[in-house]
Amino acid sequence: MNRTRTAAMPKTARHTIHPVAWWGWALLLATAAGRTGNPWLLLLIVAVAGLVVTWCRGSEPWSGAYRVFLLIGLSAIALRMAFYIVFGGSDGPTVLFSLPSATLPEWAAGFRLGGDVTAEGALAAAYDGLRLATLLVCIGAANALASPRRLLRSVPAALYEVSVAVVVALSVAPQLVESVGRVRRARALRGNTSRSPANLMRTVVSPVLHDALDRSLALAAAMASRGYGRAAGIPVPARRATSAALLIGLIGLCAGAYALLSAATPAPLAWTTVAFSAAVSVFGIAFASRRVPHTRYRPDRFGGRDWAIVASGAAAVIGTVLSGIHEPAALWPATNPLTVPDLPMWAAGGILLATAPALLAPSSRGGTP
């Protein structure tokens, strides 16, 4: 036995936080980011997410997700800037430099390539990129705090089969990568370095697929011998009703979320759509869950602290809503003329409240990021 690796991992406080709470918190923070274009607020959200991740994450392999998403966010800003420089966008009087320009033909009218690059336009593009980056960072924070697998474990029993399929798929991906590596090394042993597609197909793709097939058969056999797919006993009409309710609910939720984020739809309509679809989904899930014969081993419980974490995330959204009422101009700062944007106080206060989890659920690694 490898003693050095066997040292028992201390149970951290983080374990008691429900993964749904973390994902709820992070998604609410992302919603707040989606409701503003103010760079101060966006940077504040990135900082809050970073602080909570450093304080609350554990030492699992996925805990590094925040940094990865931060890098993806930075590249999103860079990409947005590059798009602005090439394709243009909003313009202003302050020309930084000019590129040779070309106007696209009739059928693509409205687009120009190259041309003047203005400070105002660049700033607007940067704000836009920053907003996208902040959304990504929020998702990264959720990943770092609770792995998607732990989240899947909390899905209602009715969705059990789906969650198993997703979990298996999640574990197959790294295995596939490992398998490709092994086969490529073996290929080098045969001195076969030809890069022709036909050769690659025969010497890499086909053995890897063969391997994957063998593996999935072994897994299927193992799962069957451990009781997976035991006569589940759900009557067909009930199963269909559940699927229909879930599908309608999910489509409704997507539409409602889109309506909420876009300014064109009246808010009451959007909220009604969301509420109705949520009710349909909950009904479908609850209806099906009662008939599922499986039980859960040590399910994560949703307690007071979990509610508090979700509430702190909601505070950020409420802050941006209040700012939208009282100081809408600060929420979407203009870049033409060039000014230093104001900090909307309501939104900033709400976002600061979202740091609460750092105090509510400090990790055992506390303070040693």
Binding site: S171, R182, G191, L219, A222, R230, Y297
Partner: protein
């Protein structure tokens, strides 16, 4: 018929017209630890899978007859329906894991069966204690050692409280210590829980001592009986039984302790003899002093991301004709070292020279003419549809005259069907094919990574003989293995690795005798002797020369 155990009543199974099991009947009482013995390809896995319905539900084929487990007839049940009755553990635990954490994995079957959460929690805790997994229960499965993984797999099969546990080569991929962990845990289960255990294994030297009874499956027929009797008559038997057969000990004994009790006479008979180096094929002593060394590796280091140092400053100097066994626990850096020596694998520091050339600096096609490596999964090297096409491909890859590879293969092993698919060959044949493909490039240094997995005793002997011949032909052969019996047959020199460092290096006889973990069975009974063939050869010599010693031997064997 007993109510608690496993019973087969005239069971016949045929797959695509080929009979695998032929009128098999046996009856295992409740709580018995039974060992299933048979040559490779005899259908051991088929028999095991029939117990929990994987055969025929997963494989197809036709089965007739009656199988009862704990009094329940399983004819119409799927494997999932039998999950509460039969636990099944395969050879590679990783391939069967559904979740990624120890506790979740243990609870999986109970979740499927809808066990009440409180009862489930109690059950998981009991299993964790029973299998000694307490200090790893919160960890990821990927972070466990191979022995721990196999114990988790056994625990996971036991959580539902099955009446029978079926294991297909649970210790084949494990090093001796990890295998001992797993087997003693199993032994405890039989005593504490009264589970009926049916276990198939190639490494009989490890399991025979734990078993109450044995089944011999050969040519589709099953013979049941006490372990000693069955092994005594079996074509597949561990060295200690072979030794007992040779010396005519009653039983024959299956454990080292029993054998030692009988050994006094044989020791006396061998008193005047020395095991001679030529007893096994190709046991010609090699001298690394003669001429410049073929392989010169100094300070080889291999680092992996995450600060893991797999190989830490290994020096290895080897000459032609040497047969080196690289031994050590799972994860001690054997494979990493072999790959680094070949040059295709990663090397973070140190120098390697094969005949004065650094293989890592060469192109793959040139590298393989310096050192050939047969990976742990020989099938990775093979990608043609037929054996013949594989050989032609190897000739093309190596730019050698057509027919070279086929001829090498013919020399290594006879009777391989040239039209067979490489994946349909037996483990031993597939290994021989991969070896032939590697040898097509005529590398002076030949490296094999764990070649004995899945091979039965005759196949291992054949492999040792083949590698011995290659050694005699001037190759330097390095094999990483934790199979001590194979090492005794094959090696002239043993290098033991631990945590990436060489802890022992010297002549096989000396190194192996000094280590209780790596000593073969014969050495444990007759110190100084490594294999049964050595002993047989010495006895043969003394009989022909008619010395007094041979008289003692005969008395003893009478």
């Amino acid at each position: 018929m007993n109510p608690g155990g496993i019973a087969f009543d005239h069971v016949t199974f045929a797959y695509a017209g080929t009979p695998v099991l032929d009128d098999v009947s046996f009856d295992l009482p409740e709580g018995e630890f039974c060992l299933l013995v048979g040559p490779t390809g005899a259908g051991k896995s088929t028999l095991l899978k029939a117990v929990n319905g994987l055969v025929p539900h997963f494989t197809g084929g036709t089965i007739t007859g009656r199988i009862t487990v704990a009094g329940r007839e399983i004819r119409d049940s799927t494997p999932a329906d039998l999950a509460d009755l039969v636990g099944y553990v395969g050879q590679d635990p990783l391939a069967g894991f559904v979740t990624d954490e120890v506790e979740r994995e243990l609870a999986y079957t109970a979740e499927q069966l809808g066990v009440d959460p409180a009862a489930m929690r109690k059950r998981v805790t009991e299993i964790v204690d029973l299998l000694g997994l307490a200090d790893v229960r919160d960890r990821d499965l990927a972070a466990l050692s191979s022995g721990q993984r196999q114990r988790v797999a056994i625990g996971a099969a036991l959580v539902a409280g099955p009446a029978a546990l079926v294991l297909d080569e649970p210790t084949s991929a494990l090093d001796p210590t990890a295998a001992d962990e797993v087997l003693s845990a199993l032994h405890r289960l039989v005593h504490d829980l009264g589970v009926t255990v049916l276990l198939a294994e190639h490494r009989l030297e490890r399991v025979a001592q734990y078993a109450d009874s044995a089944l011999l499956l050969n040519g589709g027929k099953v013979t049941a009986g006490p372990v000693g009797e069955i092994l005594g008559a079996s074509p597949i038997a561990p060295p200690v039984v072979e030794l007992g057969r040779l010396a005519g000990w009653p039983g024959p004994p299956v454990t080292i302790r029993e054998a030692r009790r009988h050994a006094a006479g044989l020791r006396g008979a061998l008193a005047g003899h020395q095991p001679i180096a030529s007893a096994a094929p190709g046991r010609k002593s090699a001298s690394s002093e003669a001429g410049p060394p073929l392989l010169e590796a100094r300070g080889v280091r291999v680092d992996y991301p995450g600060g893991v140092r797999a190989v830490n400053g290994v020096d290895l100097i080897a000459g032609r004709c040497e047969r080196i066994a690289l031994m050590g626990r799972n994860g001690s850096g054997k494979s990493s070292l072999l790959w680094a020596l070949q040059g295709t694998g990663k090397r973070s520091g140190g120098t390697v020279a094969i005949g004065g050339t650094d293989p890592a600096a060469r192109k793959p096609a040139e590298r393989r003419t310096l050192a050939g490596l047969v990976p742990a999964e020989p099938a990775d090297l093979l990608y043609a549809e037929t054996v013949a096409a594989e050989c032609e491909g190897a000739d093309r890859d190596g730019r050698v005259p057509p027919g070279t590879c086929a001829k090498i293969l013919d020399d290594l092993v006879e009777g391989i069907d040239a039209d067979a698919h490489p994946r349909d060959l037996s483990e031993g044949q597939r290994l021989a094919l991969a070896l032939a493909v590697t040898l097509t490039a005529a590398p002076p240094l030949l490296l094999l990574d764990e070649p004995t997995r899945g091979l039965d005793y005759p196949a291992k002997e054949a492999l040792a003989a083949r590698l011995g011949k290659l050694g005699d032909a001037g190759h330097c052969v390095v094999v990483s293995t934790h199979d001590v019996e194979f090492c005794a047959e094959f090696a002239s020199r043993v290098v033991i690795l631990s945590d990436g460092e060489v802890v022992a290096d010297g002549p096989a006889r000396q190194i192996v005798a000094a280590s209780p973990m790596f000593a073969p069975q014969v050495e444990k009974v007759l110190p100084g002797w490594l294999t049964v063939s050595e002993v047989a050869e010495a006895l043969g010599r003394s009989e022909t020369s008619g010395t007094a010693a041979s008289g003692t031997g005969d008395d003893d064997r009478a």
